[in-house]
């Protein structure tokens, strides 16, 4: 069964870039891909049970909600506690990365990202 990969980012260009990088995995049915521009909408859908995921890729700086706060809220929910989250951001400060670690995010990638690296990380995390 296809693994469900979600991305949340307020930039449509970043979402499109990630989707193009993952096109082969999407096209071959290894993953199904869904994007959100608004983290609050994603969180609402997860909490209501309308959404689920095998891997979440999240930006940090978004207008409605910070990606780390979003990750913390998701991780505090028993249903998603063990689900992997990869942070994809322009932020590279050690302080923020530490904060991410404490919250329990699986990986941290800095934009602009390398397509191959994204695919490799995703395959590794999902075991596909």
């Amino acid at each position: 069964m296809a693994k469900r990969v979600l991305i949340v980012d307020d930039s449509r260009a970043v979402i499109a870039t990630a989707e193009l990088a993952l096109e082969e995995l999407i096209g071959s049915g290894v993953i199904e891909f869904k994007s959100y521009l608004n983290p609050a909408e994603l969180l609402g859908n997860l909490q209501s049970g309308a959404e689920n995921f095998d891997l979440l890729i999240s930006d940090v700086n978004m207008p409605e909600m910070n990606g780390l706060d979003l990750s913390r809220s998701i991780k505090s929910d028993e249903r998603f506690k063990t689900k992997p989250i990869i942070i994809l951001t322009t932020e590279s400060s050690e302080e923020l990365k530490m904060k991410g670690k404490e919250i329990g995010v699986t990986g941290w990638m800095v934009k602009p990202f390398n397509d191959e690296k994204l695919v490799k990380s995703l395959k590794m995390v999902l075991g596909v």
């Binding site: 296809a2 260009a13 499109a16 870039t17 989707e19 199904e32 891909f33």
Partner: protein
């Protein structure tokens, strides 16, 4: 879920906006999407040729898509992007107002582009499709350039690459 991206009859397009109009390019031609960056002007080139960019050491000619389509030039903002596309083995950057999404369009929903009379050059629009309330014009990038223009772009790329070495 509202969309199944894995059905075989669906074609995938990257869509973008120029003003209010939405356009699409088949994704197999797209190399990458980058934020607008410094474009170096190259003298004696067509007005729609914005110049060249140096992308990780590769010199890539960049087209102002608005000017190529006869639209007004526009100041770059935070949404302005360059879509790098491969046309006849030449990498070309297209400056667009904003990137929208990767969309799946059922090939059965692609309509023939209307003709606006012989005085209007719309040959580069190969088909039209509807995505939600928007009509998306699918571009045939090969037809966007005359053969000699592609040669010019290739020359610009080669000249600047060799000068940069």
């Amino acid at each position: 879920m509202e969309q199944n991206t894995t059905q075989s009859r669906r074609e995938r397009y990257l869509t973008f906006f120029l003003g209010e109009e939405q356009y699409g390019i088949a994704i197999d031609r797209i190399k990458e999407i980058i934020a607008i960056m410094k474009v170096t002007y190259v003298p004696k080139t067509p007005s729609y040729m914005k110049g060249v960019i140096n992308l990780r050491g590769s010199i890539i000619p960049v087209v102002d898509t608005r000017l190529r389509f006869g639209m007004e030039e526009r100041e770059a903002d935070m949404h302005t992007a360059i879509i790098i596309v491969e046309v006849e083995k030449v990498n070309i950057g297209f400056i667009v107002d904003r990137v929208e999404e990767v969309a799946s369009i059922d090939s059965a929903h692609l309509g023939v582009a209307p003709k606006f009379g012989s005085s209007v050059d719309t040959d580069f629009i190969c088909s039209m499709a509807q995505i939600e309330e928007n009509v998306v014009m699918i571009l045939d990038l090969l037809k966007l350039f005359e053969a000699d223009e592609l040669v010019t772009l290739e020359q610009i790329q080669q000249t600047n690459t060799s000068e940069g070495e």
